[in-house]
Symmetry: C2
DNA sequence: TATTAATAATTAATATATTAACTAAAGCCC
DNA sequence: GGGCTTTAGTTAATATATTAATTATTAATA
């Protein structure tokens, strides 16, 4: 590869990678009338069924102020519901509706297909190395 | 590292990495009253002095509709100016003002310091490998 | 227990991102 | 040269991101 490319900074290269692969996924999400942040929320709810909003924020990497709006719109579209916690009255429990659950079997296979396509473009080994190194970065102290 | 972390998808790990390192840079940008996209624009202008808006869009990875607003605000704050191209009347040439140029010597050293801090957290070799692999990803066909 | 500190969700204000559509100016092609 | 296509910049509408501030609750503690 050309040296100029590698002379780009880590932030720019991260954005560049996202800029390359995310459009492939967004095409799928659009088919089902959801956005990418909404898809991130759905993926988590497909695993947890119900989860407190603050935990959802941590797992989705969507900050609370943004997440409030994301959940608002997903609620309006009937994908999720808000409920109050009985234990801690400050907490809001977000849970999946049938409509939200239904999307799982429709979206996941298409997402997997794109993921396989990416793997085939860069070797499974490279992909694993990338994940390993990105994980290392994510463990750096955030302050 | 724990396996669960690596079981996250490539998109999520890319976001996680950005989520870890970008706050460190944003603190610097905020000191000088600029945002992160504005800093990306400045960094390019520090190298090119003047550049057509469409090229600036490609290099900054900021799409034209977003970039219009970014340049609007940077122009209002006196960091850049818009000029018309004599050759192609469709084109807008963005060029740096003295005020925008001045920021270079103030911001770059602090940015470099953070970058060095990141390097020290993960080995220069790991960082280079990461850039190498991210570059590979960015070369995947975007369609 | 009254007070204080910390947490969860939200609101507010501003800046960006995303997609589609639109205008003006080149480029092309016959 | 008139018509067609492409390109550059912009606008519009909606969704998110970012930072600071607010409200309600809970936890902590003197």
């Amino acid at each position: 590869m050309a040296i100029e490319e590698l002379s780009n900074s880590l932030p720019m290269m991260l954005y560049k990678a996202l800029d390359t692969i995310m459009p492939k996924f967004r095409i799928i999400f659009k088919e089902f009338g959801i956005t990418e942040p909404q898809a991130r929320v759905l993926r988590i709810l497909w695993q947890h069924k119900k989860i407190a909003l603050n935990e959802l924020s941590s797992l989705s990497l969507i900050t609370p102020p943004s997440l409030v709006g994301v959940i608002d719109r997903m609620e309006l579209n009937g994908f999720v519901e808000r409920n109050n916690s009985n234990i801690d009255r400050r907490k809001i429990i977000v849970n999946l509706t049938k409509k939200g659950k239904t999307l799982e079997s429709k979206i996941l296979p298409k997402v997997e297909k794109v993921y396989t396509e990416i793997e085939s473009s860069m070797t499974k080994k490279d992909l694993n190395n990338t994940l390993f190194l990105l994980n290392k970065i994510s463990l750096i102290d955030k302050r």
